[in-house]
Subunit: 333 residues, 4 copies
Amino acid sequence: MIVVIKPHVAEERTNQLIEWFKGMGLGVHVSNGEVNTVLGLIGDTGRVDKDLIASLDIVDSVSQVSEKFKQCNRKFHPEDTVVQVGDVKIGGGNFVMIAGPCSVESEEQIVTVAKAVKASGAQLLRGGAFKPRTSPYDFQGLKGEGIELLKIARQETGLPIVSEIMNLIDLPLFEDVDVLQVGARSMQNFDLLKELGKTKKPILLKRGMANTLQETLMSAEYIMAGGNENVIFCERGIRTYSDYTRNTLDLSAVPMLHELSHLPVIVDPSHATGLARLVEPMALAATACGADGLLIEVHNDPLHALCDGAQSLRPEEFDAAAKKIRKVREAIL
Amino acid sequence: MIVVIKPHVAEERTNQLIEWFKGMGLGVHVSNGEVNTVLGLIGDTGRVDKDLIASLDIVDSVSQVSEKFKQCNRKFHPEDTVVQVGDVKIGGGNFVMIAGPCSVESEEQIVTVAKAVKASGAQLLRGGAFKPRTSPYDFQGLKGEGIELLKIARQETGLPIVSEIMNLIDLPLFEDVDVLQVGARSMQNFDLLKELGKTKKPILLKRGMANTLQETLMSAEYIMAGGNENVIFCERGIRTYSDYTRNTLDLSAVPMLHELSHLPVIVDPSHATGLARLVEPMALAATACGADGLLIEVHNDPLHALCDGAQSLRPEEFDAAAKKIRKVREAIL
Amino acid sequence: MIVVIKPHVAEERTNQLIEWFKGMGLGVHVSNGEVNTVLGLIGDTGRVDKDLIASLDIVDSVSQVSEKFKQCNRKFHPEDTVVQVGDVKIGGGNFVMIAGPCSVESEEQIVTVAKAVKASGAQLLRGGAFKPRTSPYDFQGLKGEGIELLKIARQETGLPIVSEIMNLIDLPLFEDVDVLQVGARSMQNFDLLKELGKTKKPILLKRGMANTLQETLMSAEYIMAGGNENVIFCERGIRTYSDYTRNTLDLSAVPMLHELSHLPVIVDPSHATGLARLVEPMALAATACGADGLLIEVHNDPLHALCDGAQSLRPEEFDAAAKKIRKVREAIL
Amino acid sequence: MIVVIKPHVAEERTNQLIEWFKGMGLGVHVSNGEVNTVLGLIGDTGRVDKDLIASLDIVDSVSQVSEKFKQCNRKFHPEDTVVQVGDVKIGGGNFVMIAGPCSVESEEQIVTVAKAVKASGAQLLRGGAFKPRTSPYDFQGLKGEGIELLKIARQETGLPIVSEIMNLIDLPLFEDVDVLQVGARSMQNFDLLKELGKTKKPILLKRGMANTLQETLMSAEYIMAGGNENVIFCERGIRTYSDYTRNTLDLSAVPMLHELSHLPVIVDPSHATGLARLVEPMALAATACGADGLLIEVHNDPLHALCDGAQSLRPEEFDAAAKKIRKVREAIL
């Protein structure tokens, strides 16, 4: 950490601050420039509150030299992490298509959709059993029963299953789920993240509605600090003042997260736009900028979907999109 | 719900949509204008997905006539709700000052601060035992021990205590806490909200980092739908592109929430700005626009605070601010 | 315009509002539903202030049935507009690459870059002569001299030239410039837009820093209302709370603007990210989602660039990117 | 400027950078810490592109020690600036109320409103003659005729007049206007700012729709760099995702701008909220946090206002608000 002292500060006050840092067990390298004195802190600066130091009246600015994220940091782990789900590999050059309905509604629905998306090339099946809904009066998911239906669909198709967990007390129900999804609203549910860190399950970590990339990395760090290295990032749009789409899909997060971290990054164009007709173009864009995969909502009957029908593709639309996605993927290799 | 059909749509297609609504058990009032056909839906439209209808190619626009929030809606409950905490009343003309440190650190610290803020006029003591921290490597709170220390401070001063709950499995530890705070990151932790709805505890519900007022109202609705009517809103700043403050304090939320809901609304100027020197002016502003109370961080030794020292007032600063706050409160009555 | 009256409003008050609308020369179609009365306004509702009506205490909601943008609206002009610049066509299936330095600095610089980008496939040369800079102490561009140097580069290479106009009084200097760029900060400089509407010049209209798509369309409408139909939209990133990029590139604007308008849409990945190493991936993404072209900063010596060197590609980097861009473009056709 | 070099960078590469800085005429103070090498640049670093340096692969971070704003910076001018308009003083403890209609519509209207707001204690009259409207089909203001009507109202009441200038070619029309307002959409119309810097007129500079405080300060700097020190800041709400108000009024800008600059800061609660019923509470809040004045829209007949009627107070509402504003102002002195 580099602390720049304001000009014309009495030496005595600077010395008090230096002593305070030393009292925290840090080494302090003092450099007296012509204009400013600069303190370089050495040691475990993770315990120093950067905002507090910056708020002191004698301090001009503070810069954090080392990032707070360690385990997901590419600096310390230059090769891409490949997350393995059954026979499916994600990251490190392996591209994955995950598809399925927003909510699991019935055995017929989930099996039908699973077969359809498999035929179109999807390698994983997604389906929500626990649904975070803004209103308490909206459909909240089939819960445990939904998980059971997903397993049936897996048995019928061989596709590993992905489903969202909202609450750590539900963890036993997810024992036989292949990939656990952490939704945008839970990205900073730190107790949940810690608990997931104790498992070895692949975790699909969605970026929060208004979170920065640094906060997203720190949430991965919570999981990895517990010993679970199987984390997949998912960009799903951030909240802005956009007037025609539900969120603003921030695709620059794909190359930027790849630069900062070794973990795979996939994109969810369905939630990002909220509009089925924008899913294909944004899926192509995500593929073109290097995403390691896509998470796409597909429903056999969007008009009757119990949740998010507006953003679901029909199976034939997904099939057409998947063909184009593969062409774009080939074009950038 | 009012559905406006686009001009020049074949009557047959409009009729299909009308039949679909009727199949959902809704009444449909059709009005053929010169330009547009307008459908008025009657009955329980809460089950109709507004976004889905709006995405249909024959639909021009959909407007939700009735809000999705019912129990916290002032339309159905015109008088102000007064939340009672021991002898302290909040809302309906009763102004409350809640003060204390970001984190409980030791018995000495919390008792010292509690006595100081009581002497300055605070009626409730706040203190964090469970701390949501962006980094897994930061101090996470004293947890159960912190709650015990808060109770000691309550015994010493008589001040009821307010503390944040992050996880429903911790609920037993909060049995003897007077007000349970839901932090910004948990505002849409719907399982937690449902569980709090089953208690009768006063709930201090902080607006999420990037949540709209409607979403904030819906989260109160989750708690109230369970039978707990003791909800207090707290505006604590929203995320924007502001360059000198941590968040942007949205004070217009105070009169707007008062218009939309009968529940009390308080303001947290400490988290909103992240800077101790901005706490007093923003506390005065919040008071002037009609807030029912304030939540202010006070620490006896901000430089050594384990968390958020940059935004904490020292007891003497809080005392000076409290005097001015009372003067502004009197000026608007 | 559809005006929904609140339930239980006295008939007399509704009638007053109806009379007021009639006094403005509008027809009013009244539909009394079981719950709400709905007024359908017929005629030139463009003069009715939607916000004012919505703020009346008897009004529940107002929906604008017809958009305020007419001339750029695809509804009234279903075929794509093709903007012609010399021999170069933009839109309607024609993809254009526009490249060059942020600022024109010298004859040698602009001619060198022009030759390089032409060799790599660029069809238009961009270069800033008038530079909007946040600080009055920063380099403000070579102004008229810069325009002259651009013309020399055009003569040397045959590439038509694109340059930004900030002020309508500079219009005579731009007489011989092929495409006039309106920068993000000028998107709502309405006097400038009106003046550009009187010319027949192709106008490259950049979306403002925090403008919605509707506002962007309305700015095109200002130009077109004056009689100039040669407008090209340019998405260049919007302001959010992103922490690692300068702006957030909103690529969903590409398919959305294509749906709403018949005008071409290009993308500027250089300003959007502010980082040269993100330009290629975001250019590929823009291409994949259907952009009609790209605006890319290229500089022969970014480290010595007088402006925005951090986001400029070197000629050899642009050449490599252009090859990939063409491959992605082919993949989606 | 402080440049922190990454660890383990070859000395040769660091030396190249040092030489490059020296080639720009800067002094470089090198400090070799145990972990990082830190370069302190001495001299006119205003010409160094911070973003470019930060983007170099050997650089870890760059911090700007000295702000880019000089003339409006409180560091170099500790006392409050007082802007004088006729007999009215603004800033330095002097509070000003500026009121009037959004648009000047007729002599009767502007004179009526002027008399009313004067009677309620307003010291300056505002009225728009040139109106920036999102749509080319909306009322654009009476222009020169509107200015003439404002002068008549000034003659009738003695109130100095404030009106918005959108375009530097209109400057001659404003010769006899007392305060020239730069609207939010023009805050970064740098050519206009430079021209206003050549006058001695008081300039009311509104913060742009999505501008940071630093950008706002830099726009004041443009005016002051030309020799005009009579600048008044105006906070008028910023664009966010707020759902019930037009913008989000950022009141923390008031104390923060006061800390950073010596110039007066006023607040416009009318545009910020877009709702007449929120104007009073937000005006009180602005007063309580130390604003030097208020800019409030008042119209004698908001329902027939040609522009922004939804946010205008009627004269009797302004009168009631003004009384409370004075009480709050007294409470904080």
